[in-house]
């Protein structure tokens, strides 16, 4: 994985010094909250419902055991013993004190981490495919390019006061594990007929109040021109994006209101001006960064390990975990292991400091000292020997992290919601906890198959409810927590925005309503169909009449 050279190290240290000065000026009263707010947000610091919250960047979700141990230390010292993985492959800590944040950042800098641009109206932490470098279906390692984008976007002097936040994701596969189509810019690495590498560029996707699927702006931007193309898109957005209404300020609205062809023409015109400039990424620099992502020293192994097959046969629980959480690796004898952070009844994405330290040890032993965070608030060990899966599973089970529910109904995304967030209208985590209890039966979860359930506590959609096969959106209805149900969304390569099925349900009735939807799916399902496919086949009508029978009576 990427390691800082002295330039990166100096930069991050200098950023800590700069922020220390800003905090001092805020505490001394030299700066008002209004002036401080954008500065602290650009360094990942929020003032939430109960306290400050610091969001720490994990660029493209890749980090090491040393970094994980530091995060555990931070969880103990500044949070109440927890860390919380987010949908941008980041981790956040509640309860830090403002005057301690500069020290916290200095501790992060010691392990080559920072909180730069994890919030604010700037280019956010760049995300990538969590299986990068391990999966067979990729064109190149997306993290190489995510790192190049990270450096270019870090404290970019021109794009620090954008109209709104700006999110970039990189993938290298036809399978979308990074929600590419719902980013301000989504990049998919491709090879052209000449065998050269470049990017298919999606622009104007996003969730929030007005969810939109991105549009392909360019089928193939050659790799050396990536930064000039990004700079052209950002400059056009910065100059023409709306500033009069924060709900209409994302680039998706600019694309929608201007029209794809006209905006594309503007971007292409700007790109022509800057394409042959110092923004070209030199081959040497690509090679330098690539060298950090060189494959780890894999052993030559047989594709089938006899002891692994025996263990699966002897131990059905292990077999279920393998079926649920383990996926194919491109090297014979290796596997990619998903570690679910959705144990029964606990807040999605939460991890204790002790678990962090244990996982750091396990990553060293079993996965070349490397950990990935996923946008679905889980973790990945990308390179585990098939022959060691059983030992790893046993060790994970001991620390409560062997839940085999990846992609199942209890593997929910949930935003912090009103338990923490100052913007939320309703709670999200407690609802996830109740659903997790309701669907505690793993046999039932496996029967239901892949079912992506996503919960947001407000219309900003941090819980990605629009792209849940089933989405739940918290609303405040006359002082009560209510939840709206959306059906049919997908954040994957079959991207779709879910439709609101009808009036919202109270917090007391929403779990029953969800169960009605799921049991109807079971009745209507053909063979082993996914929920999403059944919904697409039968449409919304049967679900509406199941959920709102009184309406049917009224109409009859």
């Amino acid at each position: 994985m990427y390691r800082y050279d002295e330039f990166d190290r100096n930069f991050v240290n200098e950023r800590v010094t700069e922020f220390r000065g800003q905090v001092a000026r805020r505490l001394s009263g030299e700066m008002s909250e209004e002036e401080f707010r954008p500065l602290r947000l650009m360094n990942g610091l929020y003032l939430q419902l109960h306290a400050y919250m610091l969001r720490v960047a994990i660029p493209y979700g890749t980090f090491s055991s040393v970094q994980m141990r530091k995060l555990a230390h931070i969880a103990r010292t500044y949070d109440r013993g927890y860390g919380h993985f987010t949908t941008r492959q980041n981790i956040q800590f509640n309860w830090p004190k403002l005057d301690q944040v500069p020290d916290l950042l200095a501790e992060l800098a010691d392990v080559e981490m920072h909180a730069i641009q994890t919030s604010g109206n700037c280019i956010r932490n760049v995300t990538a495919d969590p299986y990068a470098g391990a999966v067979a279906d990729e064109v190149d390692d997306s993290r190489i390019w995510a790192e190049i984008v990270r450096q270019w976007s870090t404290l970019h002097p021109e794009f620090t006061y954008l109209g709104r936040k700006f999110k970039i994701a990189v993938s290298a596969s036809d399978f979308d594990r990074a929600v590419i189509r719902f980013h301000d810019i989504g990049l998919i690495l491709k090879k052209n007929d000449a065998g050269e590498t470049g990017f298919q560029v999606w622009v104007g996707g996003g969730l929030g109040r007005t969810p939109m699927i991105g549009k392909v702006f360019n089928e193939f931007v050659p790799q050396q021109d990536l930064l000039s193309y990004l700079e052209a898109v950002l400059r056009v957005y910065n100059m023409y994006g709306r500033r009069d209404n924060k709900y209409k300020a994302r680039i998706k609205i600019l694309v929608h209101e201007t029209g794809i062809d006209e905006l594309k023409a503007k971007v292409e015109a700007e790109w022509r001006e800057i394409r042959d400039s110092a923004l070209k990424v030199p081959d040497d620099e690509v090679a330098r960064i690539r060298s950090y992502f060189a494959p780890p020293p894999f052993e030559q192994l047989d594709a089938i390990d006899r002891s692994f097959e025996t263990k699966k046969f002897e131990n059905p629980e292990f077999a279920r975990w393998v079926t649920g959480n383990v996926v194919a690796h491109r090297e014979p004898g290796y596997r990619i292991v998903n570690i679910s952070l959705k144990p029964e009844g606990l807040p999605p994405g939460d991890i204790t400091a002790d678990q962090m330290e244990d996982l750091a040890d396990l990553a060293e032993t079993y996965s070349f000292d490397e950990i990935r965070a996923t946008h679905e608030q889980n973790l990945v060990f990308a390179h585990v020997k098939q022959s060691e899966l059983f030992e790893l599973w046993q060790e994970l089970a001991e620390i409560g992290l062997a839940m085999p529910n990846i992609g199942k109904v209890s593997d929910m995304i949930a935003c912090p919601g009103l338990d923490y967030c100052a913007l939320a209208n309703a709670r999200a985590i407690p609802l996830a906890q109740r659903i997790s209890k309701r669907y505690a039966d793993l046999d039932q979860q496996f029967d239901l198959g892949e079912l992506k359930l996503k919960i947001s506590g407000c219309i900003n959609a941090c819980g990605h409810h629009h792209v849940g096969h089933i989405g739940l959106l918290g609303v405040d209805r006359r002082g009560e927590e209510y939840y709206q149900i959306t059906l049919g969304g997908s954040g994957a390569e079959d991207a779709a925005i879910g439709s609101i099925i009808g009036p919202a349900f109270s917090s007391e009735t929403v779990v029953d309503a969800l169960e009605s939807v799921i049991s109807l799916f079971v009745e209507l399902r053909l063979d082993k169909e996914r929920f999403l496919d059944t919904y697409r086949r039968v449409g919304a009508a049967p679900f509406k009449s199941r959920l709102y029978p009184e309406k049917l009576d009224a109409a009859a």
């Binding site: 050279d5 109206n121 450096q151 021109e158 794009f159 620090t160």
Partner: protein, 168 residues
């Protein structure tokens, strides 16, 4: 309004001329884009310098052809969070404009560094603010990650130079 120019607080020798006021015979003046477009000939006939003040929704593309006639372009920041002006300054720089690029309106001290990097060389400061106030916010980054308008060598090229020097 006092100005911060090249790191020093100076008195502003330019007059912002309201659209309704007749052109003075002498003295450097800054006019609105509308005034410039309307009274272009009269403004160019004067001996003293003229500048144009752009609002946040007026792109410098609209004065691209006129830049050789202008000694100053002022870019308005209606709110310090409205960052359009940063791109406008980059465009002016790219068009080869060599006059003064001035940030006016709601500008924060902490934005000074980014503004300089984008090509601004003067900023309007609030009365009572001293050079020391502004110097206190100047961050000491040894090298930036990006190429911008200030000519600072970005980290990527510094790495290239180092690789060339060490032959590796």
């Amino acid at each position: 309004m006092p100005l911060l120019k090249d790191g020093k607080i100076v008195n502003d020798s330019w007059l912002y001329l309201d659209d309704s006021i007749a052109l003075p015979k002498v003295g450097a003046i800054v006019v609105s884009l509308a005034r410039w477009q309307r009274d272009r000939a009269a403004l160019m006939a004067r001996t003293d310098s003229v500048g144009v003040r752009l609002t946040a929704d007026q792109s410098p593309e609209q004065i691209k052809e006129d830049l050789t006639e202008l000694a100053l372009v002022a870019i308005e920041f209606p709110a310090f969070t409205n960052g359009r002006g940063y791109s406008y300054a980059r465009l002016l720089h790219r068009y080869g404009f060599t006059g003064e690029i001035r940030a006016v309106g709601n500008v924060l001290r902490d934005q000074y560094g980014n503004m300089k990097r984008c090509g601004f060389n003067a900023l309007e400061v609030k009365s009572g603010e001293t050079e020391a106030h502004w110097q206190a916010t100047v961050s000491n980054f040894s090298a930036p990650y990006q190429v911008a308008a200030d000519g600072a060598e970005p980290i990527m090229s510094l790495r290239q130079q180092r690789m060339a020097a060490t032959g590796g």
